[in-house]
Amino acid sequence: MTRSALRIGGLILAILLVGGGALQYHLDNRKSDLELVFTATAGSEPLVFNEYLYENPGGPGRFKVRDFRFYLSNIVLTSAEGDYRETESYHLARFDDDAKSYTVKLPEIPRRNYSKIRFSVGVDEEANLTREWQGDLDPNGKMAWNWEVGYKFVLVEGSLLMGEARKPIVYHVGFSENLRTQSFKIPQNELDTSAAVLAFDVDIMKIFQGSTVLNLSELASVVMKKTDARVVADNYAKMISLKTD
């Protein structure tokens, strides 16, 4: 081998080393744009607002929904290489757009083979009883009661129709103890791409028909009574499901 061939060989080796290092570096710093899309449903069908379409699960009459929203918080993605925690992770999910869906965008998160996602419905106690502005927490917004009581976690407003009689439905459910966390397994490699979407259904009927089946004519409003709020929280604890195709 001539000296020049050696030199060229060395150069190629150097390029491979540097290039490989760069590739490794590149792999470690790859980012992924993740979208979480939440679609409001009533049972398996998309939620329709302002029409008396829905049976009172535990009693007579049909009801309509004029407003449905909730706080989604503290999103965490888990992987063997480490967790990703969104900062100021407080999102007000509302569904009054045409698509009846709400999207959380997590731009440029570390790209990993995440195996699990978890988040809460509600606001953790530390944030719940402050006047601070974080994420979508808005002390002057519709979800705020006042700083001494905290936020409504889940809000459903509507009306129950029984014959000719109408009864307002007001579910303003909060209190720190009613934070509920859900966790979902993510199919292997699903998120190991540069842009991924996880789609969830939010079934409003589960709020009234979960571990307890509620009669809306008897329990038309849930606001300040703690035992009622807890029953509803145990129901909404399972209102979100991950869509798998």
Binding site: P139, N146, A165, I169, S221
Partner: protein, 348 residues
Amino acid sequence: MWQYSPAAIRNFSAPFIFGRFNIPEDNPLTEDAFQLGRKLFYDPRLSGNNQISCSSCHIQALAFTDGRSRAVGVSGVELPFSSMSLSNLLWGPRHFFWNGRSPTLEAQSLLPIQNPDEMDQDLEQLVIELAADPEYEKDFARAYDDVNAENIAKALSTFMRMLISQNSRYDKFLRGELTLTDEEELGRKLFVAHPDVKVSKRGGNCVDCHSQFLTGGFKDAYDGFSNNGLDGEDDLQAGLQAVTGNPDHKGLFKVPTLRNIALTAPYMHDGRLPTLEAVLEHYNGGVIISSTLDPLIVEANNIEITDGTSIGLSLNPKERKAIIAFLHTLTDEDFVSDEKFSNPFEKK
């Protein structure tokens, strides 16, 4: 080449509890724009007959209202609506006027100038008149560039954005500088409470529509609009429906700020209620049912309803008086006497 660039407004502060706000990128807050806006706000040349200015219906001592049920402008014809108080417009809904038809202050500010029943001024004519005044030419050049309608709107908007009321007794209470009287404190507690007879929790339910700190309507989407039961089905006006086309928005009007409310009688969008006592009577038992009546008003009551017909808060006289006492803590004497918001043509 040296170019004059207007200075940003100094010492501009606002309580953090008011929350985040947006200022349009193409209309930054500057001292020159504010001073120009202030002049325009008080200048009767903005009207067709040169006799009415913005300040004719938005009087500082009355928290920028006019004390009338319904506003009267150049034509002498009563408008359908009451002059709205101007304060803390940086926060709250981005939908201006009682029916929310204007998406920005810039768009809003030119409409009363042109309305034949308000100021009845032709915009082109106004620009000609103002451009002929060397003082104004100088003011516009410093704040923006030319005298034109867009810059008139921008300057008026800057003036209105700076109308910040933040020094009422309630603000001082929130800052920990004073304690409220027992009656005011009872009123405050009722103000921020949704009543729930199931747990004997008494409430005035005000906070279901009027936010706890700003005391105006909520800012997201159309959350800041409500049908508060003034009219029955047959008398419902279009309200927000005129803007959205949504029949569920019929009869919904903008929830106004309650800051300085003791100074802004008469009340409601058409000024039909003369006093705060009358307002409390309305919410206490005078609510009229219609299809778009706010369900939070229907539902909120301090007594168990058995017949399904009674709508109202059913507060006792002491509680109603306490809420009114609390509403008086929202009066900000500094705001209504602050010289920087006053008429610049009246030399003190």
